[in-house]
Amino acid sequence: MSMDAVAASSKVGPTVRFGVWIVPTAVLLLAAPFVIDPFQTLTLTYGLIAAIGALGFNLLLGYTGLLSFGHSAFFGGGAYTVAFMVKYLKIASMELFLAGSALACALLSVLFGYVCVRYTRIFFGILTLALSQVLWSLAFKFFRVTGGTDGLRVPTPTLVGAAPTSDKMDFLAHRYYYYVLAVFAVCALLMWVIVHSPFGKALQAIRDNEIRAEFIGIRIRRYRLIAFVISGIFTGVAGALWAPLNGLASPDILVWTFSGEIVFMTVLGGFRTFVGPIVGAVAFTYLKTYAVGFTVYWQLLLGTVLVALVLVLPTGIVGAIEQLASRWKKAS
C-alpha cells in the first residue's frame, strides 16, 4: 500500500492538500509583524494562542468523540500557574512558565479526567463543566491567594533568557509574537504526529465505535484519560502564553462561558479536520475583537454567527472549503 493511500485513508485528514499551504502560510505568519500594524499583530498572537488551546480541545471532540465544556479549567489553570509563579516564586522566565503550566495542567487533567472519562456524551460534558466551575469559584473566592475578581498581574517575561525591551507594545508585537509562533508550530506538529500515530487511530476507533474498540483490545477508558491529559496540557500551554500577553490572570477565563468560546472556535473552523480548530481559533479571535469594537451587543452578534454557522456551515469553515474544492474537482 502506498503512503499516499495511507495518508488519504483516514476521514479526519486532508482531502484538500493542506500540505501545500504550509509554506505560504508560514511565510505570511513570519512576515506579519512587518506588514500589519502592532494592534493587528497582537490580535494574531491571541489567535495563535487560542489555536493551541483549540487543537488540544479537538483531540477530545474531533478525534475521541468527547465534548468537553470545561476546558476553561486548563486554559485558566495555565494562566494562573504563571501568575502564581510570578507572585510566589518571583520567576520571570517564559520557558519555566510553560514547563510549570504544562506540569500543573497535567496534574489537574489527571484529576479531572479520572472522574470524567468514566462517562461519555452529555454526562461527560456536564462533569467537565461542573469541575471547571469549582476551579472558577476557588479563583473567585480565595481573594488572598488569587486576587479574586481583580486577578493577578503578570508582567512581560524573559524569553530564552533575554529580558523584555522597554517598549512593551513593540516587545509583544515582535519578540513575543515570534515566540508564540514558534511554540504554536511545535504544538501543531506534535499534535499532528499524535493524531496520525497508532494511538491517534485508536482514539478515532473509540470515537467511531467504543464497543468494537474494546473488543479488538483497546483499553478505552485508559486511552480516553491519556487523550484528556494531552488535551489539558495543550490548553494549559495556551493559557500560559496568554497570561503575559493579557498582563492579567483573572477569573473570566475560568468561567464556563470561556469553555463555550473554545467549543465555538472549534466548531467554527470545523472539528472533523486537523486544521479546522486552528482556522476557527484565529477567525473567532478576529470576529470577537471586531464585534466588541463594533457594538456593545457583541454577544448577540457572535450568537447570530453561531446559529448561522450550525445551519449553513455545519462542517465549519474548513469543511465548507473542502466541499467547494471537491465540487470544483468534479466540475473540472
Binding site: S10, K11, V193, I194
Partner: protein, 263 residues
C-alpha cells in the same frame, strides 16, 4: 482437546434464565455451529465467554486456564475474538484502518503516540493482505461506513480475524444478507479460518448454512443445550426437529432465515 469449556455457566436477566448451567465445549480446530430459536441464549453465551457480560455462576476454561474472572481485554489477549450480529465497524475510518487497528492492537502498538501509523509498512502490508483475502481490497481507502452491507459483514469478520485469535465467535455472519449472498460470504469466511487453523463458533439461523459449513452442531433451547452432534445426527434428532425446526427440514419456516432480533 477442548480449547474452550464452560462448567455450569449461568446468567439470568430477572426471571429469565438466559443461560442455564451450560456445559459447552469447543475442540481445537473445529468449525462449530451454535443454533437455536430467538431467545435460546446463544448470544448471551457468547457474551459471557467473550467477557462482555459477567456470569452469575459457573466457570469458563480457555486453553487450559480459568478465564472466568478475567476482563474482556485479557481474554482478547489470550486469543478469544468475536464479530457482532449487528455490524460494528469504525465507520469514519477507511477499511484499511479498520484492519490495521486490529493489527496495531494485537502487536501492542496502539499506545505509541510519537510515530506515524502510516510509516509501519509491515502493518499496512498485512492489512492489505487481509482485505485481499476477504475480497475487500478495492475498498482499502474507502470509509467503512460507505460500503455495501454484505461487505460490511465481511469486514466485521476480517477485523476479528486480523487479531489472529485462537477462538473466533461469529455472531450471525450472514444476517441481513440476501440468500444469494450468503454462500459466497460463508465460503470466504470458512476457507480463511480453516487455512489459518482458527477454531470457529458460528451462531446462525439459516439451517442450510449450518448443515453445509459446520462440522458439529450444538442446539440451544431456553438457555440449555438440547442436542450436540454432527450435522447429520442433529438433523435426524426428533427432539430437535419437533422443538425447533418444525415441519420444514430446511428450517426456513421456523427461523425466518435472517434473524435481526437479539437472542
Amino acid at each position: 482437546m477442548n480449547l474452550l469449556a464452560t462448567r455450569a455457566l449461568a446468567k439470568s436477566f430477572g426471571d429469565n434464565r438466559a443461560v442455564d448451567r451450560v456445559d459447552f465445549n469447543v475442540s481445537q480446530g473445529e468449525v462449530l455451529a451454535l443454533i437455536g430459536s430467538n431467545g435460546a441464549g446463544k448470544t448471551t453465551l457468547v457474551n459471557l465467554v467473550s467477557g462482555m457480560l459477567p456470569p452469575d455462576s459457573g466457570q469458563i476454561m480457555f486453553a487450559g486456564a480459568d478465564v472466568t474472572r478475567q476482563s474482556s481485554y485479557e481474554r482478547i489477549r489470550a486469543g478469544i475474538a468475536r464479530s457482532f450480529q449487528i455490524v460494528n465497524l469504525f465507520d469514519q475510518l477507511s477499511c484499511a484502518d479498520n484492519i490495521a487497528l486490529s493489527i496495531f492492537s494485537r502487536e501492542g502498538k496502539t499506545a505509541k503516540l510519537t510515530t506515524l501509523a502510516g510509516s509501519d509498512r509491515a502493518v499496512w502490508d498485512e492489512a492489505h493482505d487481509v482485505l485481499r483475502r476477504f475480497g475487500l481490497d478495492r475498498h482499502m481507502a474507502v470509509p467503512a461506513g460507505t460500503i455495501a452491507h454484505g461487505e460490511r459483514k465481511l469486514l466485521d469478520v476480517a477485523i476479528a480475524y486480523a487479531l489472529r485469535p485462537k477462538l473466533l465467535f461469529l455472531d450471525e455472519p450472514t444476517s441481513g444478507v440476501s440468500t444469494r449472498e450468503k454462500a459466497p460470504i460463508m465460503d470466504i469466511v470458512t476457507s480463511i479460518v480453516r487455512s489459518g487453523g482458527i477454531t470457529v463458533v458460528i451462531i446462525e439461523h439459516d439451517m442450510d448454512i449450518v448443515f453445509r459449513y459446520s462440522e458439529r452442531v450444538v442446539v440451544m433451547h431456553q438457555g440449555s443445550i438440547l442436542a450436540d452432534g454432527t450435522p447429520d445426527e442433529v438433523r435426524r434428532n426428533d427432539e430437535v426437529t419437533t422443538t425447533l425446526i418444525g415441519t420444514h427440514p430446511s428450517g426456513e419456516a421456523a427461523y425466518g432465515g435472517t434473524g435481526h432480533a437479539g437472542s
